[in-house]
């Protein structure tokens, strides 16, 4: 793309430059970092000295800018760098930030705003009031398009292997929208109640709040909304779509199969689930003990699936996958998990009393568990199944349960919380111990396990240190039962004729699409990956369903944005840096009731109360800003919101550059003696301008501390200007006059208010500026010459100013006010230093863009072809900015015409050379 000129910054200087260049016939690209052009001027109440409405003056210019046929405006965009081309032009790299809203579709209706679940400070109202993450910058924004603020994917959401939008449902709960939170999880999986209990919550390990004091209880919040839904509603609350005519068979009804069925059914597929066992659910039903996951919760979750018309055929092991295809299924998904246990592989496994952990857990779920009252049980293994088996043994009456594990506690694959809970329930641990033989009596019953002590050697392929025998000595742990829980493998022998099955019995499929070499056959979950956990299996089911849908609709097998194409996770350090201080909160309450002698299988964890849930959700830091709750997407009548949009980086070729990046306002907290940021009733001039504007954040001018209508208002001029203590000796030129303007406006808005300005001297050098000042005095504003040294606060929020009263003998005096306005000055915007990558843009000694000959050649910089317009070159009011932009534009036009002439001459010379 080629333009005659690039204008960086869409404030009054940038707009004026663009319009004048456009009027001259030059093609202009205007790049503005904010969602709207207009800069600060559009945020002002009125302008001095005419007291014209700022919006009324600025609005038409904004509109003209973006509608001008020669101007292309890139809002929400940043210039990443500008470099010179060999032809003497410039190549600019421009990043167009995703706004997640299609500007062509958005009508600016703002229906998305009230439903947004995230509140952040409104920078366009000087942080005086909250706005939403989905927001229109301000009512007069041009373009009038909503944008959605996203800093990245929140770490909790980013880490979820199921692609569940954890931040989203937490934000919905904080807003009291519990059913919407339930529905958001349902978008990923029907297993809301199950995951609310049995998920290992990797989200909580990544929670940024954990770096402050403790993670928020994300998993338990999911359970909270699941329990509320199931208490009050029948079915999932989702309407089954019209059938699309395709049929899909899913073999295996564990978490992967159920999730895939759910996803496909929501798309209108006719889904049949085949389950070998008498009841559906796989490990959810047969491997996770009821004290962690009650049966009725699994049944409610499964009922979500059947509510959409999914047929579940139980007691139906599938051995012939091709036959399903022949029976009319367009695609088949294998999701049979890892139902086989790895044997211990030691002598004595045939003795009565030896069984696998999976067998034990299944027997107990079927009501056929052993009675181990008073017996001793050894569980071999260190994974979650071993922990479940050991805790189950305690509930079956075992007086002593020992977990024997060949590595140390730190190397255990079981979740730390599971190990901890097992220990709480009286399970004992023998670490660095490997069984070498099961011992039995003459009746064939177990009497003990002979074990060998181990030490940890070098790391193995898994990265964990390999256990090695310490010596040749052994010892015996006496016991009445031995439970082997050292691993699980898939049962895939029957599939080997149609699918590629590895030596480890896992099915080999494409790692991205889960499609096998037989195109209608897919496989997902533990049958592909080996034993993992429920949440990973849910993610697998989602992926497989997505790919099956793509396959059956003739589309490329890609586009799984739920897990493959998320926005990068936001940097936690950057999140924490958003606040200066954090108020510590109490950690979420312990909701477990564990005893060292459990006697039944009743659930060991209670649900959070509503108060606890709100407190937990209220601690969320909104890391990604937008929570991805999706409420805006639903609310948008124009279907304009796409949360999967991406930033774009483009390169543009331009003939000249105009730098019009404006200024920064002085940070008032750098004058701590004035109390801004400490006393709520001390505000800045920009904050007062917002309070006076027609689109103000409050209903009128009110004290931010308590909402009182102020009657005594003081101004402190030169805050951060002409002040070497803050390294700014310059006069900011506009503070006196904006203060005088505000004095007059306040007297109009609050006729009973007294306005006093504490000043060093009034600088009113401009057309009709002095008359404007005198008019203010005549209206009743008081002006006291002398610097304010300190502001303190009284118990009622009133403020005491200590100042030098020069015109009355220089006495140190104190006066009380309801509200104090600091007339903050301006500072250079040093972001310009990053603009040019291969040439150095000179700044003057005060870090404004240098004009080497500003008297006779205003607007020209040290780089040929680069010009500066407005306050980027020094403090200027609106009038001066416009005038300066005019000068810069003249320079640009002259430069472009000179270059055009030079190019023509060079072309003619080249033609003459050729003709010779």
């Amino acid at each position: 793309m080629e333009y005659d000129a690039l204008v960086v910054g869409g404030g009054i200087g940038g707009m004026e430059s663009s319009l004048k260049l456009g009027d001259m016939g030059y093609k202009v690209l205007l790049v503005e970092k904010e969602p709207s052009v207009g800069g600060r001027m559009i945020l002002l109440s009125k302008v001095f000295p005419t007291l014209d409405c700022a919006s009324c003056i600025s609005g038409p210019k904004m509109s003209s800018t973006i509608n001008h046929p020669n101007i292309t405006t890139a809002s929400s965009s940043t210039v990443l760098g500008i470099r010179r081309t060999p032809e003497g032009r410039f190549l600019a790299t421009v990043k167009k930030r995703a706004t997640y809203v299609d500007p062509a579709a958005c009508t600016g209706c703002q229906e998305c705003e009230p439903v947004c679940t995230v509140a952040v400070p409104d920078q366009f109202n000087a942080d005086l009031v909250p706005r939403r993450a989905a927001f229109l910058a301000f009512p007069q924004a041009v373009p009038k398009k909503v944008v959605i603020e996203r800093a990245g994917t929140s770490p909790c959401t980013d880490t979820c292997p199921a692609g569940i939008k954890a931040h989203g449902y937490v934000a919905l709960i904080r807003n009291g929208r519990y059913e919407e939170a339930f529905q958001l999880v349902l978008e990923a999986t029907p297993l809301v109640g199950t995951l609310g209990r049995a998920c290992y919550a990797p989200c909580e390990n990544e929670c940024t709040r954990d770096d402050v004091e403790s993670s928020i209880p994300i998993r338990r919040l999911k359970r909270f909304v699941a329990d509320r839904h199931y208490e009050t509603m029948q079915g999932p609350g989702v309407v089954a779509p019209e059938p699309n005519g395709h049929r899909v068979a899913i073999v295996g009804s564990g978490p992967a199969g159920l999730t895939a069925a759910w996803q496909l059914a929501r798309l209108g597929y006719g889904v049949t689930l085949y389950e070998a066992s008498p009841e559906p659910g796989g490990f959810l039903r047969y491997a996770i003990p009821a004290y962690r996951l009650p049966q009725d919760v699994v049944e409610r979750d499964i009922a979500n699936v059947t509510a959409l018309g999914v047929e579940i055929v139980t007691n139906s092991p599938i051995t012939d996958l091709e036959a399903l295809h022949h029976d009319g299924f367009d695609a088949v998904l294998v999701a049979t998990g890892t139902p086989r246990s790895t044997t211990l592989g030691i002598p004595g496994e045939e003795f009565a009393g030896v069984q696998s952990g999976l067998e034990l857990l299944r027997d107990v779920r079927l009501g056929a568990g052993p009675d181990w009252t008073g017996q001793r049980v050894v569980v071999v293994g260190g994974g979650n199944v071993a922990m479940d088996a050991a805790r189950t043994a305690r509930r079956l009456g075992a007086r002593r349960t020992i977990v024997a594990y060949r590595r140390g506690r730190d190397e255990m694959p079981a979740m730390a919380s599971e190990v901890q809970d097992a220990a709480h329930e009286g399970v004992a641990f023998e670490f660095l111990v490997a069984p070498v033989e099961v011992l039995g009596d003459e009746h064939g019953r177990v009497t003990g396990v002979r074990c060998q002590r181990m030490v940890l050697g070098a790391p193995d392929a898994s990265g964990r240190r390999r256990p090695e025998p310490a010596d040749h000595s052994t010892f015996v742990i006496e016991c009445d039962a031995v439970i082997g829980a050292i691993g699980m493998v898939p049962d895939t022998e029957d599939f080997a004729t149609t699918l590629r099955v590895g030596a480890d019995r896992r099915v080999a499929v494409d790692p991205l699409t889960r499609q096998s070499e037989v195109e209608y056959l897919f496989a997902a979950g533990d049958v592909v990956n080996g034993a993992t956990d429920i949440t990973r299996a849910v993610g697998e089911g989602r992926r497989a369903a997505h790919m099956i849908d793509r396959f059956l609709t003739g589309r490329p097998l890609d586009g799984f944005v739920a897990l493959d194409d998320r926005l990068a996770a936001v940097d936690k350090a950057a999140v924490l840096a958003r606040q200066r201080t954090y108020t510590p909160r109490e950690a979420a309450p312990d909701t477990f009731s564990l005893s060292d002698g459990p006697t039944d299988f009743s659930e060991v964890e209670r649900v959070l109360s509503e108060v606890e849930a709100l407190a937990g959700a209220g601690a969320c830091l909104d890391c990604g800003v937008c929570s991805e709750c999706g409420q805006c997407v639903r609310a948008c009548p124009a279907d304009a919101i796409d949360l999967n949009a991406k930033d774009q980086v483009i390169e543009v070729d331009v003939g000249a550059v105009v730098v019009s990046t404006g200024y920064k306002l002085f940070a008032a907290d750098l004058k701590p003696e004035y109390g801004w940021g400490q006393y709520a009733n001390v505000i800045t001039g920009m904050q007062m301008d917002r309070l006076l504007a027609p689109t103000r954040p409050f209903n009128t001018v009110l004290r931010p501390g308590d909402g009182k209508v102020p009657e005594r208002i003081a101004y402190v001029s030169c805050t951060g200007s002409r002040d070497r203590t803050v390294d700014n000796p310059l006069c900011s030129k506009l503070c006196c006059m904006y203060s005088v303007k505000q004095n007059q406006l306040i007297m109009g808005t609050l006729p009973l208010a007294d306005v006093t300005m504490h000043y060093i001297d009034i600088r009113a050098a401009g057309k009709r500026y002095d008359e404007f000042y005198e008019q203010s005095r005549a209206m009743g504003a008081s002006y006291i010459k002398g610097r304010v040294s300190k502001i303190t606060e009284k118990d009622n929020g009133d403020l005491v100013l200590r100042y030098e009263d020069i015109e009355n003998g220089g006495a140190i005096t104190e006066a009380e006010y309801d509200l104090v306005v600091l007339a903050v000055g301006v500072q250079p915007n040093r972001e310009v230093e990053q603009l040019f990558t291969d040439e150095h843009l000179d700044l003057n000694e005060y870090y404004y863009v240098d004009e080497p000959d500003d008297d006779l050649d205003p607007g020209r910089t040290n780089i040929p072809g680069v010009f500066v317009a407005g306050a980027a070159a020094g403090a200027k009011d609106i009038v001066d900015s416009i005038t300066h932009a005019g000068a810069a534009v003249s320079q640009v036009a002259a430069y472009l015409e000179r270059r055009r002439d030079d190019d023509l001459i060079n072309q003619e010379l080249a033609t003459m050379e050729l003709s010779r």
Partner: protein
């Protein structure tokens, strides 16, 4: 009560959605000023001011036409009928 700011404003603002219910419950008996709501909630008035103004922005609350003699506006729940 002073208006000294004790918490980071971003933290206070983030809580606005969480505070809708307690504030609306406080207004169940009729319109109240910011200090009155603050007293009922036991929260600093400058924090309540932020929440009330956020709720006003999104039309959950509306101010009565005139301030009280003490110079405070009263705010009412927009879902309830109020006589100013």
């Amino acid at each position: 009560m002073t208006s000294t700011i004790n918490r980071d404003p971003r933290e206070v603002i983030r809580e606005e959605p969480l505070m809708h219910r307690p504030i609306l419950e406080a207004l169940a008996g009729g319109p109240l000023t910011v200090p009155e709501i603050a007293e009922i909630l036991g929260r600093p008035s400058e924090e309540v001011m932020i929440w009330v103004m956020g709720m006003r922005r999104y039309a959950k609350l509306v101010e009565l036409r005139e301030p009280t003699d003490d110079g405070f506006f009263q705010y009412a729940d927009t879902s309830r009928e109020v006589r100013s």
